[in-house]
């Protein structure tokens, strides 16, 4: 029996928006895509609604990213922005800058590592991440360990005044 989609909606909507936000970096767009994913789930009635939703969401975000890449907006913007904050202590960096740096740090992960990390952060179990990414279940811990390390290192590199993003 397919899951009760209304129930999944209540429990998963927030996580799905968060997951999508880290991919499209636009709140309104992330919400739209999340709602679209649920709307599709209502039609398809997948067996495993939650897993299905994240697959569909990931695909939609990827299409979105391709489109964005074609339009060359975000990346150009991101790269041309000067890192003017290197002298500020972390607690003074405004949220927007921090978000931008996290985003840039996430971009430095391999797609697979990033996907695993975002899925974990969206509340998925190792089993679900394995199903989603095609990774072996036993490899998820290692993947997440690597993803976390790279994220922190890439972020610290930015905050520490090493402007790797300029390159």
């Amino acid at each position: 029996m397919p899951d009760d989609i209304a129930e999944v909606y209540r429990s998963t909507y927030g996580a799905l928006v968060r997951f999508l936000y880290r991919k499209v970096w636009d709140q309104g767009r992330a919400e739209d895509l999340a709602q679209e994913a649920f709307a599709r789930a209502l039609v398809h009635r997948p067996e495993n609604t939650r897993g299905w939703l994240f697959v569909v969401a990931a695909n939609m975000a990827r299409d979105e990213a391709r489109r964005a890449a074609r339009e060359k907006r975000h990346l150009t913007l991101l790269k041309s922005e000067p890192d003017a904050v290197h002298s500020s202590p972390e607690d003074e960096i405004d949220a927007e800058t921090r978000t931008r740096h996290v985003r840039a740090a996430l971009d430095e992960l391999t797609p697979r590592d990033r996907e695993a990390l975002l899925l974990w952060d969206a509340g998925m179990s190792y089993d679900e991440i394995a199903t989603q990414t095609g990774l072996a279940r036993g490899a998820i811990g290692t993947t997440l360990a690597r993803a976390r390390r790279r994220l922190v290192e890439a972020y610290d590199a930015r905050e520490g005044g090493q402007h790797v993003a300029r390159g």
């Binding site: 928006v17 919400e31 209502l42 290692t142 997440l144």
Partner: protein, 321 residues
Amino acid sequence: MSHVDEGTLHAYLDGELSPPERATVEAHLAECASCRATLAEERALLERASALLGAARPVERPAPPFEQLRRESKRSPWRVRRSIAWAASIVLAVGLGYSLRGSAREESPEAADKFALYDRRDAAAEQNQAARSAARRPAPAADEAARQREASGVVATVAPTPTADARADSPATAEAMHLDAVVVTNRAAANAGAAAPAPQVRSTLTEWPIITRSAARSLLGTDPVGLPGLATRRIRRSPGTDRTVIVEQAVDSATVIQIIQRPTSANLFDSSARGGYAFGEAERQRTDRLARFVGRLRVEIKGPVSLDSLNRLLEQVAPLP
């Protein structure tokens, strides 16, 4: 055991180890200061990564009401499971008009169980699919009946239902449906009757014989064009000398699209020949008829779907395999 690798430590911290694995790890940690130190580092790393991700989270806004979502999903083209997205959009265009008409009745906000509505709609979509695949099978009796009617001068492209009996031994219906109106059948006809003026009856199109594909090919001097992936219901030729061919294809059991084509070498304005097809009329008269060139053919398209959908369909037109 040997030292615990970082992947296992992360799985441990994430609470994703099985109980036996967990016990093994904990037994080792109890004895190994080095691994305990590593665990502390990995925990700090994990928390730091979570905090960073947390800093890049969207503002938590409440989810829109689920009911709203259900309403939106009705507008979604994904309602129809088709690998060909554009075909789905056409079906949607047709189905939407249908459902909008029914929606006043079906969609009262107080409707107790909207899921029930979905189930019905899904069932309807599946029926459509079944009908579509059934329509791909030849229905000899029906075609024969159509030929007989044509021979008697009553042209009548009949309701493209997959079963012959529904094609009505209802002479009144048959007479009302000239070729030009073929596209308006079944429920589409009902809609058209209800909401749109009756289709124009064009006497010039009432005597177009059904021909074979190879006959069409020799008339056109090239393969006839159509929409790849759609069932071709029949091919007709102009009764005149203008070498015009019409390929009729079913988008679904109730929706037939006509792809009208003629070699560009033929004089476009030679349609004064008896019964010929007046090309160029699209521009002059009917906004629901669009035209383009495909290879050596001039192609127009007609059908009971939105202009936008026709446009998209016309873009898909290619030589039939």
